[in-house]
Amino acid sequence: MKIDKNTINKIARLSRIKLDDKESEDYINDLNSILDWVEQLNEVNTENVEPLSNISSSILPKREDVSNDSNSSEEILENAPDKLEGFFAVPKVVE
């Protein structure tokens, strides 16, 4: 078993998702069965194979290096759950 209680708690913490005990149990089972299933990739010999991260076969064009100020802070803040004087507002982090 790859994922135990400690591991799931650690991943949940890294993901910033709070899990209750029931959920933890469920995800331990789900994740272990998924990880067992993907294990079959170990059958594949990938020695000297380059990892593929961009599938595009077209040459990606460059753009001119000029700045572009859309001055859109108001638009950006429009959907914020909480804002204050032109900033996103969050719970106090410094006492």
Binding site: R16, I17, Y27, I55
Partner: protein, 474 residues
């Protein structure tokens, strides 16, 4: 039920046989009659009427003027909220328009509404949506069926004739599989053909926008409209877009079709093997050379996908933190607590499952064993196709391993659900264009789909093969 085509409707509008208002009122009526299908997350009659008013005042010629189009609720639209079918974006009103929807607006189309999907496009049945299941319009009375997913709302919108076309996105089969389940045409073009700008990101190296329509001609017209280079998407391709519709040619004489032996998998229903054979026989009659090909790494495509897609998702969905937009939990005694509660309450079960898997395979000590390994296998899968396309012009396979299944079936077993994508995922990993067209029925009279795959940016060949098969079936 008679369904008018986009091509015919454009003619009728041009010759004033019908007005934009009459046309759209017809669609509005059907949308209201079919509310029980839960096709739309957002629908506002007033909004549609306003669009009609504006178009009536507009004298300029536009290619899709007045054409009712449904938009998957993953595309940001200024005129309508955008939720990605998630509670976490329940109240999100984009201040910008996605590239694809802007193109459709520029052509004069009318957006009838935002369609339902699996939450953040993660699913194969449109049953992970925060806004409930969409019901396949082809369902029998006592047996509601899934429309497929993730773009199930868009596929159902076309199938129920609530629009003349719809946008979708396809990461591992999310256009092609629901098209097959709902008996409509669905095309996922080459990765990079349509800009991803303004589409809520799921797995950025795989996500691609595409089209649902009643037939292949209509798909060729609509894909033309949404394709094109955009510098705001760093993987957007600068390629010439041919006029797919004008160039449609069902003469396939002298072409070669590849039939991959690895797509004959155990447990595929007889009927699906049968329609595949029928399609091959028909192509042979049309003078197409049949070439048996091998794509040896096919069986590894699904596990590769289910490492890469969640990994990218876990990174992409980090932005939903209750700070910048969307839902924020009430339980916020500290910043960390705000993040953790917001994401716990805002995301559904499947999305959390994928974020957790993705976080795990990217975490220190596991990155090489999972993520890097999957990227290497992905290279081998792409190489398989490159080799195959030296010997053939296009590839024909079934689209999905089953017809539409009952709502909520397979819900509890993630791996079983993932197997829906067995025929669609390999081409996604290789970035290839693929179309699904209705081709035959199963014993319950439900539609089945045939998938045609082409070389990178060879959508024309895909359309040509598709229209040839479509005409044979009619």
């Amino acid at each position: 039920m008679f369904k008018s085509s986009l091509k015919q409707t454009l003619k009728d509008l041009e010759t004033k046989k019908i007005s934009i208002r009459e046309l759209n009122q017809d669609y509005l009526k059907r949308i209201k009659e079919n509310e029980n299908l839960n096709v739309f997350i957002h629908f506002s009659e007033d909004n549609v009427l306003k669009q009609i008013d504006n178009l009536e005042k507009d004298n300029s010629a536009k290619k899709l003027k007045g054409i009712p189009i449904a938009i998957k609720d993953l595309f940001c639209t200024k005129s309508m909220p955008t939720t990605a079918a998630s509670k976490i974006l329940e109240n999100f009103n984009p201040t910008y328009e996605s590239f694809v929807t802007q193109k459709l607006l520029d052509e004069g189309s009318i957006f009838v509404g935002k369609t339902n999907l699996d939450e953040f496009a993660m699913g194969s049945a449109t049953n992970t949506s925060f806004f409930g299941n969409t019901i396949n319009p082809l369902s029998k009375e006592n047996m509601p069926l899934a429309p497929g997913g993730s773009s199930g709302g868009s596929a159902a919108a076309v199938a129920a004739d609530l629009c003349l076309g719809a946008t979708g996105t396809d990461t591992g089969g999310s256009i092609r599989q629901p098209a097959s389940f709902c008996g409509v045409v669905g095309i996922k073009p080459t990765y990079g053909l349509c800009s991803r700008w303004g589409i809520a990101a799921f797995a950025s190296s795989l996500d691609q926008a595409g089209i649902f329509s009643h037939n292949v001609e209509d798909a060729s017209i609509l894909l033309q409209s949404i394709a094109g280079f955009d510098q705001r998407d760093s993987t957007s391709a600068k390629v010439d877009i041919p006029n797919y519709f004008e160039n449609l040619d069902d003469d396939l004489n002298g072409k070669t079709v590849g039939i991959p032996k690895e797509y004959s998998i155990d447990g595929t229903p007889m009927e699906i093997s049968q329609i595949w054979q029928d399609a091959i026989k028909f192509l042979e009659k049309k003078g197409v050379k049949i070439k048996n090909i091998s794509l040896p790494h096919t069986k590894y495509a699904l596990p590769t996908y289910y490492i890469i897609a969640p990994a990218e998702a876990s990174s992409n969905l980090a932005r939903y933190d209750g700070v910048k937009y969307g839902f924020r939990s009430d339980e916020i005694n500290s910043l960390d607590e705000m993040y953790e509660n917001t994401r716990a309450q805002g995301f559904g079960r499947e999305v959390k499952r994928r974020i957790l898997i993705g976080t795990y395979v990217l975490s220190a000590g596991y990155y090489d064993a999972y993520y890097l390994k999957a990227q290497k296998v992905r290279k081998l899968i792409a190489d398989d196709f490159n080799r195959a396309f030296k010997e053939c012009d296009f590839i024909v396979t079934p689209t999905a391993p089953s017809a539409a299944f009952p709502l909520n079936e397979k819900q509890n077993d993630p791996i079983k659900m993932y197997l829906n994508d067995v025929f669609t995922v390999p081409a996604s990993l290789a970035g290839l264009p693929g179309i699904s067209i209705p081709f035959g029925k199963d014993k319950n009279n439900l539609p089945l789909g045939i998938q045609i795959l082409g070389k990178h940016f060879d959508e024309q060949q895909v359309f040509n093969a598709a229209i040839s098969l479509e005409r044979s079936y009619e």
